[in-house]
């Protein structure tokens, strides 16, 4: 299982390194979205709840791009067939895809969070706030990666893939947005670092756990052919 996951991860990394598509696309999309928010909201700077909202809507919509691309090469270039021929546990595909989705999100945020601070965030981020924000980001990214992998695998087999992906993923990810926006809003206020609301981290962790187990249980059925 571990070797299968490792091989799949190497394949994902090789693909993305040869023709970088997903990560540059998502990062560029995030920055364009900040510009759109700047004009849409007519604000030069945002803080507090509004900042958390802008940040999480941007991350969520950028994630949609990644989710929509996650299984496309496997379907079109025969990756699924090759994987099904290999005598390995099918759950390896889920684990590898969820890890790569998480990595995509984390790498995009390495660009998108500093861009957000520079372009839109009023209060700025201290080191301590940044650490706390990273904790929130990590928990939310796990949730997005898990649900995104499940939805991506569901949607890639449909004819209306581009339509189905966001229609399924957005409602499913509403609890993540609630938890992440609530948890990160105090970190982005003008009055300086508020305390990190622990109960929202618990909600995020619970969401990750429930959907992690659920996706782990049902993913096999999406691969049979």
């Amino acid at each position: 299982m571990r070797r299968a996951v490792g091989a799949l991860l190497r394949k994902e990394a090789a693909l993305e390194l040869r023709t970088p598509q997903v990560i540059p696309g998502m990062a560029l999309f995030s920055i364009v979205t900040y510009v759109v928010f700047h004009f849409g909201l007519r604000r030069n700077q945002v803080s507090g709840d509004l900042a958390a909202g802008v940040l999480w809507v941007t991350i969520l919509f950028a994630a949609m791009l990644g989710i929509a691309r996650l299984f496309v090469t496997d379907r079109e270039e025969g990756g699924f067939d090759a994987f099904l021929l290999a005598p390995v546990d099918r759950t390896a595909m889920f684990v590898a895809k969820a890890i790569s989705m998480f990595t995509y999100l984390a790498l995009v945020q390495v660009v998108a969070i500093p861009a957000f601070v520079v372009l839109l965030l009023g209060p700025g981020l201290s080191g301590e706030e940044l650490l706390k924000l990273m904790a929130v980001l990590a928990l939310a990214d796990i949730g997005i990666a898990v649900v995104g992998t499940l939805v991506g695998a569901l949607a890639v087999q449909t004819r209306a893939r581009d339509l189905i992906t966001p229609l399924l993923a957005l409602p499913l990810l509403v609890p993540v947005v609630i938890g992440a926006a609530r948890a990160s809003a105090p970190l982005l206020t003008l009055t300086g670092a508020g305390t990190l609301p622990g109960r929202w981290l618990v909600v995020l962790a619970l969401y990750d756990l429930v959907f992690g187990l659920l996706a782990y249980a049902v993913f096999d059925f999406l691969l049979e052919d």
Binding site: I164, L168, P175, V210, A215
Partner: protein, 250 residues
């Protein structure tokens, strides 16, 4: 061959009686609410609708589990019809809730009411069930993917309610839990009769749809055997059923 139509007529009659009786009880027998007056009566429809819709969604998820375990298309059909009718009842619950919000608070939609908001999110999620089925051509794959969706969404329902409820102040009207300790007995009777009636209504409707789907599948099979005119296979979101002829050859 499975017969779905058995016992439909007595069930339908019973549904009409209980639902009609429940409405009569709610209108004439249950006392007028002291604070809210007549508009409180909408809750005798709204709450049972919402409860039955949620029950239908979760039952659809359980039927999804059963389908994945047994690969029996009967369970796929159950999952499909339960979710289908739960979605209709959920729309009804949203509309009645909205009407009540308008009469009571003066707004059609109130965001700081967790139950209404989580209901909307669940409703929007399940709206994708039909398009998802429709856009998968292979029938067997369609059933399997729909089951995975039903299970995921079924597990999402309670989690979503919890998250949204935490996010907002608790302001959903506890209409049936008044300050002086619970509901008057007469209201309780009317409410539970309405709940039973709505459940029967749901069961009757789903049984009718299953019977109709089954009959249509068998008609199609017979027609194919008679005339041989196959016609262009119509794509559909509804589950495919094993028909008598196909089961015979299999």
């Amino acid at each position: 061959m499975v017969t779905y139509g058995k016992g439909l007529r007595p069930l339908a009659i019973l549904t009409v009686l209980v639902l009609g009786g429940g409405i009569a009880l709610a209108l004439f027998y249950a006392p007028m609410d002291a604070d809210q007056g007549f508009r409180q009566k909408i809750f005798y429809i709204h709450v049972p609708m919402a409860i039955v819709a949620m029950g239908g969604f979760i039952a659809g998820g359980i039927a999804g589990i059963m389908y994945l375990r047994t690969e029996d298309s009967k369970w796929d059909l159950r999952s499909y019809t339960w979710i289908h009718h739960a979605l209709i009842l959920a729309l009804g619950a949203l509309i009645t809730g909205s009407i009540w919000a308008k009469t009571s608070w003066g707004h059609w939609w109130v965001w700081d009411e967790p139950t209404l908001v989580s209901f909307l999110i669940v409703f929007l999620l399940y709206c994708t069930y039909q398009p998802l089925r429709f856009s998968i051509e292979d029938r067997e794959k369609q059933s399997r993917y729909a089951a995975v969706f039903a299970i995921t969404a079924g597990a999402f329902v309670p989690l979503n309610f919890m998250a949204v409820r935490m996010a907002q102040s608790l302001s959903h009207p506890r209409v049936f839990a008044t300050s002086n300790g619970g509901l008057p007995l007469k209201m309780q009777i009317a409410f539970y009769v309405m709940l039973a009636g709505m459940t029967l209504f749901f069961i009757t409707l789903t049984k009718f749809e299953m019977a109709s789907k089954n009959t249509r599948a068998q008609m199609g099979a017979l027609r194919r055997r008679l005339g041989g005119e196959d016609g262009p296979a119509r794509r559909s979101a509804a589950p495919a059923l094993p028909t008598a002829t196909e089961a015979g050859t299999a």
